[in-house]
Amino acid sequence: MDQPDYFSVSRRGVLASGAAGLAAGSISPQVAFAASTPAAERAITMQTVSMRINGKAQTLELDTRTTLLDALREHVKLTGTKKGCDHGQCGACTVIVNGERINSCLSLAVMHEGDEVTTIEGLGTPENLHPMQAAFVKHDGYQCGYCTPGQICSAVSVLKEIADGVPSHVSAELTGPMEASNIEMRERMSGNICRCGAYSNIAEAMAEVAGERA
């Protein structure tokens, strides 16, 4: 039996039309904004910022309030990086900036002038997975997948931090080489929450990649 046309709608399309429905409601965003600032109205400041995202130069004209996360998702349309809590507590928004992982939700986009940003889309492609992406698939390091881009960006950075001698709370010794043990992986990944509870498989995936490199 043929599927009726209305099934051929993407998840993103549904979300987008839902947002449009809200915007068309009785209270416009402008009115809502004015109501929340009864005192002196503040002018919105726009600012230009240039950065390299996944190796590609990008120049963006942004409201200064725009986080790096929103710039990536809403302006550059790289929706692999996810918004979870938007307060630096869950790690879903983790990206790699100048070689270090950060919470992109707690960083203003305009502060990234000249920076090199790597998102999940820049680590690998479906045809050519990054070793960490392949290891997550092999070890089933996810269930719903929402936290996974942040987990993988974090996991890649964790192995680099271990190699660079960055200590963790569970490191027995501060000096000398850091271990890539299971307990180290778990401690170093504590800023990435997975509500499906895939933690043990994530640690296994990381151990495999760490082992291959050792």
Binding site: R101, L174, G191
Partner: protein, 318 residues
Amino acid sequence: MKPFSYERVSSPAEAAAAAARAGGAKFIAGGTNLLDLMKLEIETPRHLVDVTGTGLDEITETDEGGLRIGALVSNTALASDERVKRDYAVLSRAIVAGASGQLRNKATTGGNLLQRTRCPYFYDTNQACNKRKPGRGCAAKEGVSRQLGIVGVSDACIATYPGDMAVALRVLDAVVETVKADGTTRAIPLGDFHRLWGDTPHIETVLEPGEMITAVTLPKPLGGTHIYHKVRDRRSYAFALVSVAAVLDADGHGRVAIGGIAPRPWRVEAADAALPDVKVAARALTQGASPTDQNAFKIALVERTLAGVMAKARGEAA
């Protein structure tokens, strides 16, 4: 988030001048705490001065044999510095006991000292909070106060200074260096940096408006055994209920500072003098405590955590 204008500056003097010029300005570096609070409209700066280009991101040796840590040195860089790991291990240990890897990569030495309290009533804008809205009262005293302070607190506010790094800096007798808008500089011992709440819990440090932290200096290494022990409700990525930063010699003499119980890292001269007697030291550290029913356990927890630290210093399993 309220709209704000934004500028980048390239020197500390320029930063201080920029902050003085614009009304309602704040400095921003890592931004991990400030931006969080701006999203909740607890912080509402009209202007942000981005100080990340001011070049204060190095750790250098001082003439006195200590270290000068630039205000922009990240938590990760500081905890990973070979000199810090070797000579000021309590500082490395304290830093990696706090936050997450992502946050430590972004958080700076200066900003971390200015981290605001994590009291839930400060964060919830529907609740009364003298720190957020002076004169409105304190919902925490009759509320969920397990995490909150027991010493140095006041009728107006029972919040704690939440950080770990500063507890280690306190035990190391660190000094905060600043520059003011008029270009003058000063050095503030860390023990004098955070104010007790009193009647003005919204004024948290002795910094003047527009005054910027440029560095934190450490005296020459103390030697001894360095320990940071943090007790919390979750094994990782949680704020302290009680933490102990300690530098001890083989006999258990030395110095301790306590985190998680007061508006500032809590260090008491009489407690240091009493070591290695844990009971007397703990009594000195919690003298005059005014806990709530929910956090009175912290008085015993200070003693027990201290006992664990002393055992560890003696080489016993803590």
